[in-house]
C-alpha cells in the first residue's frame, strides 16, 4: 500500500511517503499564506523524492492545523495521534513525546503500541513555541539556526522572568541596556521556553524514553535545557519535523480520523412544518 501523510502546521508543511510501512520519501517547506498550495507543493516534492506520482498513491491522510484544507486527502487525523504513531514507528521505546512546533507545544504520553494515553497542549499563548524563539531571534539579530549554538556558549543564562512573548521582548531591551552578554540572553530565552514546556507536561508525567519532535527539536539549546530541567536524556529523531506526517501515513488503516471533513449528521426535522402545525 502506497500512502502519503501530509502534516500542514502553522509554520511548515511536511509530507511523508510510505510504502508498506516503510518511508520512501519526505519533504518539508514553509506553509506560507496558502495552506492548500503548500500541501500540494510539499507533497509533489516528497513524491519526486520517492520517484512516484500522485496518481500512484492509494491513500492520503492529512494532519496538523491545516488538515481540513488538504483537498486531496482521504482522511484527516489530529496531529497528537499522528506524532505518537510516527515516533512509535521509529523509536518504539519512547513513552513521552515533547513536540514543539511553530505555534503550539504538546507533551504526549505514548503507550507501547503507539496509541496516546494522555496529552497536554499550550493554551492561548505563544510562549513555549517556535514563534517565541523566532521573535527573540529577530530582537537579537540572529537567524533561528544560530540561536541554539549561541545558547550553549553561555555559562550563566540570564533570568527571563516573563512567560509572555511581548513582555520577554521588553526584557531583552533591559538586559541589553545592562550589557548582558548575548549568549546569556539567548540561553535565558531557551531556558525559559524549555521550563515552560517541561512544567506544562508534568500534568501528563514524564516516563523514559522521552523524545523531542517538531521543528524546534532541531534546536540544540532547547534540547539542552529540557534535559537539564527534566534531568533525563532526550532522544531527538533524525527528522523530528516529519514525525506527524509519518504517523498520518501509518494510520491510514486505523479506526481514527474523519473522512467527512464537513460532517453534519445531526437530525434535521423540518422545523418550518412543525412551527406551522401550531403545536406551540
Amino acid at each position: 500500500m502506497l500512502v502519503a501523510g501530509v502534516d500542514v502546521g502553522a509554520a511548515t508543511a511536511k509530507t511523508a511517503i510510505v510504502r508498506d510501512g516503510v518511508m520512501i520519501g519526505w519533504a518539508v517547506q514553509p506553509t506560507g499564506d496558502y495552506v492548500e498550495e503548500a500541501a500540494n507543493e510539499v507533497t509533489q516534492k516528497a513524491l519526486e523524492v520517492a520517484g512516484i506520482k500522485m496518481a500512484d498513491l492509494d491513500y492520503v491522510c492529512s494532519t496538523g492545523y491545516g488538515r481540513r484544507a488538504v483537498k486531496f486527502s482521504d482522511k484527516a487525523i489530529s496531529e497528537i495521534i499522528c506524532h505518537a504513531k510516527g515516533v512509535n514507528a521509529m523509536h518504539p521505546q519512547v513513552r513521552t513525546i515533547i513536540d514543539i512546533g511553530g505555534q503550539d507545544s504538546k507533551v504526549i504520553s505514548v503507550r507501547p503500541n503507539g496509541t496516546v494515553a494522555d496529552f497536554v497542549m499550550n493554551d492561548k499563548c505563544a510562549a513555549g513555541t517556535g514563534r517565541f524563539l523566532e521573535v527573540m531571534a529577530e530582537v537579537l539579530k540572529l537567524t533561528i539556526d544560530e540561536m541554539g549554538p549561541e545558547a550553549l556558549k553561555s555559562a550563566k543564562p540570564a533570568s527571563i522572568n516573563s512567560t509572555c512573548t511581548i513582555f520577554a521582548e521588553s526584557e531583552m531591551v533591559s538586559l541589553r541596556a545592562d550589557r548582558t552578554p548575548r549568549e546569556d540572553m539567548v540561553a535565558g530565552i531557551h531556558r525559559a521556553v524549555s521550563r515552560r514546556v517541561a512544567i506544562m507536561g508534568r500534568t501528563v508525567g514524564y516516563r523514559d524514553t522521552v523524545a523531542f519532535t517538531g521543528g524546534v527539536a532541531k534546536n540544540i539549546g532547547i534540547k539542552h535545557f529540557l534535559e537539564e530541567t527534566l534531568k533525563t536524556e532526550i532522544l531527538v529523531p533524525v527528522q523530528p519535523q516529519i514525525m506527524g506526517a509519518l504517523g498520518a501515513a501509518l494510520l491510514a488503516d486505523a479506526k481514527v480520523g474523519t473522512t467527512d471533513f464537513a460532517r453534519d449528521d445531526r437530525p434535521k426535522d423540518d422545523a418550518a412544518s412543525i412551527m406551522q402545525s401550531g403545536e406551540i
Binding site: 494515553a117 496529552f119 437530525p267 403545536e279
Partner: protein, 481 residues
Amino acid sequence: MSVDYKDLFEQCGLDEAWQAENKERIEKFLDRIEIRTEADMAHVMDHFSQQYDTSLKGVRMMLAVCMKETIDWVLAGDEREVIIQYSRPTMGILSQGMHVAERRLNEEAGYTKYFSRGTSILMSEVVLGTIFDKTNELIEIGEDMGQTAGRGHCSEYQVWEGGLVRGFFPKPTIEVSCGFFCDQAPEAEALLADEFDYPIIFTDMPQDHQWGTWPRIEPHGTAFLTKTSDDVYDILRSQYDYPISEDDLTDGAIEANLLVAKHMAIANLIASADPQPVSQADMALSFWIYVLGTVYTEEASAAMKQFQKDVRARIRAGQGVVPKGAPRIYLSMRPVTDFHVYKLLEEVGIAVPLAWFDAFPPEVTNFETEFPDRPFCQNCEIIYRFPGMGDLKGSSLYAYKWVCETYNMEGIMLVMLIVCRPYELPISIGRDYMAKECLDLPCLVIEMDAFDSRNYTPAQWRTRFESFAEVLRLNQAMKED
C-alpha cells in the same frame, strides 16, 4: 419602527397571540437591548440558529420561559414598583420562595407591583448571550468602566456592569447579594451597588465544611446559612414592604425540588441513550431553568415535560447528535453565554450524556436531615452538600468519580473555569485524582470563561477535542480487540 421579530419570537415559543398581547413590551425590550435594525435581527437569527435546535417543541417552550424572565428583568424598572434582586444564589432551591412570593403578592395587589427573583442576572446572560449575542459587548463596557479581569473579579460582573451602564438592566430597589458560592461575588456586587447607588444587603455561608467530614457535615453550617437568609427576609419585610411568608418559602422549596426532579429525569434519559439524542446546548435550557428556578413554574414544568417527550421520540427514532457508539464523556462545567463548545464536541463525535450538576451522588440529596421540620432549611442543607461546596475531595472530586463510574463514562473533560475560583480549585487537583481513582479514564483539561467567549480559541479547542475523541475511540477499539 420596530424590527421584524415575529420569526425569532415564534422560534422562542412565544406565539402570535402572546406577541400581540405584549407588542409594546417586546418593542421596548428590543430597543432597550439595542436590537433596532433588520441587520441587527439578521445577526441575531444567525447566531441563535447556531445555538439551539428549535425543531424540538420542548426547546421552544423552555426558550419561552427564559425569554419571559429576561424581558421581565429588562423592563422591571418601567413596570414594577419594588425590584428585589437576589443576585447569586444560582440555585432555585434557595430562591424559588421569592418567586412564589412575587406571584402571590402581585396577585393580592392586583397588578405587577413586585419583581423579586433570583434568576435575573444569570438568566438574562443566557438569553443575551446565546440568543442576542450581546454579552461580549457588555463585557467590553465593563472593561471600559474599569472592571478589567482581576479587578472586575469575573466576567459575569463585567456583563452586569455593562448592562447597567447601557440601560439593559434596571437598578434594583434592593440588591440581596449572596456569598453562598463565592467570596468575590459580594465584593463585586458591593462595588456595583456603590457605583450605581442602590442599597445592598448580604447573605453568607461558611463555604467550606470541615475537610474530610463530607458527607457527614456539621449542622451548624446549614443553620448559619438558614439564619443569614432569614435575616435578609426580615429586612425585606420590615424595610422594603415585602411580606414574604414561611409558606412562600416552603412552597418555593417544593416547587424547586420538582424542577430538579424533572431535570434529573431528562438527564437520566439522555444518559441511558445511544446515540446521544439531543445536544447539551438544548439540555442547557433545562439546566438553567432548574438551577435558577423561575417565576413561570407551570410553564417551565410543562416545557421540561415536553422536552422529555422530545428526547424519548429521538431515542425511539434512533436519532442522535453524534454517531451511535460515540465515546461518552462527563463535562464538568457549563458555559453561560455561548453554547458553541457543546456543538464543537458533537462535531468531533464526542457524546456528552451528562454535564455539570446533571447527576449527583446519593449523599447530596438522599440523607437523613438534621432539620426535618423546615423544607427551606433542608434545601440549605442540600446546597451545603453540593459539589463545589466544601472540601474538594469529599464533594467535587468524588462527584466526578461517581458520575463517571455510575454512568459508564469513557472519559472526562475537566473545565478550568478561569472566571470562577471555587470551581477552578478542584480542577487543579482533579486530573491527578481521576488518574488515581478511575484508572486509565482519559481526562482532558480545558480552560473556559463561562461568560466571555472572546477567550475561547476555537482552533486549539478543535485540535484538543479531535485528539481527545481519537484517544477515546482508540481506547474503544483496543477494548474491542
